[in-house]
Symmetry: C2
Subunit: 126 residues, 2 copies
């Protein structure tokens, strides 16, 4: 992979923010320093950065994807009121105790989707 000014800017932008911006928000911000930056490039570069593990994608049903530079163990809360995504320092094994472990937020629901191979496909791989 070759160095690219745009990709570097995009990575820096995501790492410097804690508000889980969308591709569009990243593009708008960066146009102040890079006026010709195109949204297509932002999407392409974000996909690359996610692939190489420098950035995390936060998908919310019915919303544009958000991007997160925080790679440590945490979960995200999507606020249905202000539509912000906030980080919560929840370990996986604390999921059960959700309601009490973070007393100030109000967890009403959560979406879990497992990714991997179903039994048929897992068999075929071997």
């Amino acid at each position: 992979m070759r160095y690219s000014h745009q990709r570097e800017l995009i990575l820096k932008e995501v790492l410097s923010r804690t508000d889980h911006p969308t591709a569009e928000q990243i593009c708008t911000s960066l146009r102040e320093v890079c006026p010709r930056l195109s949204l297509g490039t932002v999407y392409r570069d974000l996909n690359t950065l996610v692939e190489i593990g420098k950035v995390r994608r936060v998908s919310i049903p019915g919303e544009a994807d958000r991007f997160d530079g925080e790679l440590g163990v945490h979960q995200n809360l999507f606020c249905r009121k202000c539509r912000k995504v906030v980080s919560l320092p929840i370990q996986e094994d604390e999921l059960r105790a959700l309601a009490t472990s973070c007393p100030d937020v109000k967890v009403e629901n959560y979406f879990l989707t497992l990714f991997g191979l179903c039994s048929e496909c897992a068999k075929q791989e071997n």
Copy 2:
């Protein structure tokens, strides 16, 4: 809410299937018995059925939503190879033991998104 032939057909279709069909797949299937059924109606009725809790929406990042008539406690696995969604009888507190509790599937990753109110909005509600 008024009775509707289409909504009833759509509900029956989702309940009778275990393959987590998309709106499009439901529409295609039902056109055999209801040729004029429109995709817009299917989306509208599915949204209603989800709202009243008769059907569950399964969102997968980058994929069309699937719909699930199984309302009991379970989690879904999206197979990145065949793109099928399969039900797994996992309780929440078994999440930690994912890898071992379902030895035939290969869980590689999972996406958890919490929904609710962030601390600021939770405060405002009171």
